[in-house]
Symmetry: C2
Subunit: 210 residues, 2 copies
DNA sequence: TCCAGAGACGTACACCGTACGTACACAACG
DNA sequence: CGTTGTGTACGTACGGTGTACGTCTCTGGA
């Protein structure tokens, strides 16, 4: 009956699917096993423990970043592309993103984007230490942005927040928040991300000229 | 015997203490109750559930940000001060930081820093929407940076990583990572944070002039 | 033919969050 | 004084979790 004989890859794929469908909290070894129509402990023949499984989830998601790197393009364009590629997979696996960023990875899958970014930056003229520093700034911004984008969606529909907040907030204690409530609630994630990214790239370019 | 009669504040304080001592994973209602020398279910007289308790933890940590805002100072200095104040409490409660950023807050405690920042930015001349956008960029960078700083320390001592990685990484596949390994492993968190922050502030100032 | 190894599985344990019922201490009121 | 809430502490119990361990079955080589 089991045409597909159960493997680490199938388990990880099922875990990712489950996370995206039901959220990271709903992931349990039992749920994954049930999804696969398999005994719970059978999973442990392919995965040492749940922690390692989540590491594998993060690694798998990360490895799906699609770089379309043009070596002839301006370095600013290449950096932008890499950042957007990162954001794109986060958008493709929104619930998994939390898992990815909550977990520092020591796999080669996480290293490949780093390698690409460092190569781009050094090719642009940054020194070794400068490139590392610049990369850290970019990663911090990207991770922080993605956390906001996906953290806003723990389950669904934050639309009521607008009404709730506006009515709750005391305009005397929080005049700015009160006045800017509309701007605070609505958020074009893509535009916001691009804005900050452009800001950083410009600042980096300026840093490079000096 | 119970001179102190158990209260929401005592429970939250104990939870924070426990998180800092044993890590966020070690926090359970049973552990907190044991720490307080109290039955598990007694906690539920003061806290509706664990989720709410963690929200309270985040709120409490956040409310301890110390703003020493000088209204006469340059706006760049004020923004810098606010960002550093944020980072400082994260440094003071490193294990709790993960709890704080993993949880979007709808309390007034989380709103106060927002109010301050918006007021500073608008005082500097930013329009409403611009101030909101700028704030989002700053928060993204700060949160991302803090995640890296504290995420690197899930338990202790990442010093062995250096040796492990350098030897593991294939220099042919990852020439940049291999060459820059020393720079990648050692990280003066404070200096790195300040570098990116300065970059952002400069970029914002430039944006303002236009 | 036999045997060793691998993989699937069931059982069991310790721990988790928390719903529910109970016991007691104290204030308000007759 | 007695009675009667009312709020808090507590114990028990249930369903869920990760996983250690022992067992069964199947398969491939000697």
């Amino acid at each position: 009956m089991p045409a597909e004989p159960l493997s680490r890859a199938r388990i990880v794929a099922t875990a990712i699917d489950l996370i995206e469908r039901e959220g990271a909290d709903a992931v349990s070894m039992r749920a994954i096993a049930a999804e696969l129509g398999v005994g719970v402990m059978s999973l442990y023949n392919h995965v040492p423990n749940k922690e390692a499984l989540l590491d594998a989830v993060a690694e798998t998601v990360l490895s799906q970043i699609e770089f379309t790197d043009d070596p002839d393009a301006e370095w600013t364009d290449r950096v932008r592309m890499q950042a957007l590629a990162f954001r794109q997979i986060a958008h493709h696996y929104p619930r998994c993103t939390m898992v990815v960023v909550s977990r520092q990875l020591r796999s080669t899958a996480g290293l490949l984007p780093v390698e690409r970014a460092l190569a781009t930056l050094r090719g642009a003229g940054f020194g070794g230490d400068e490139a590392v520093r610049a990369l850290r700034v970019f990663i911090a911004y990207i991770v922080g942005s993605l956390l906001r984008e996906v953290g806003v969606t723990p389950t669904f529909a934050p639309m009521h927040r607008s009404d709730v907040r506006v009515s709750e907030v005391d305009p005397l204690l929080f005049p700015q928040v009160g006045e800017l409530a509309p701007a605070l609630h609505e958020c074009d994630h893509e535009a916001e991300f691009a804005f900050g990214l452009e800001l950083l790239i410009q600042a980096m370019a300026l840093q490079l000229k000096r």
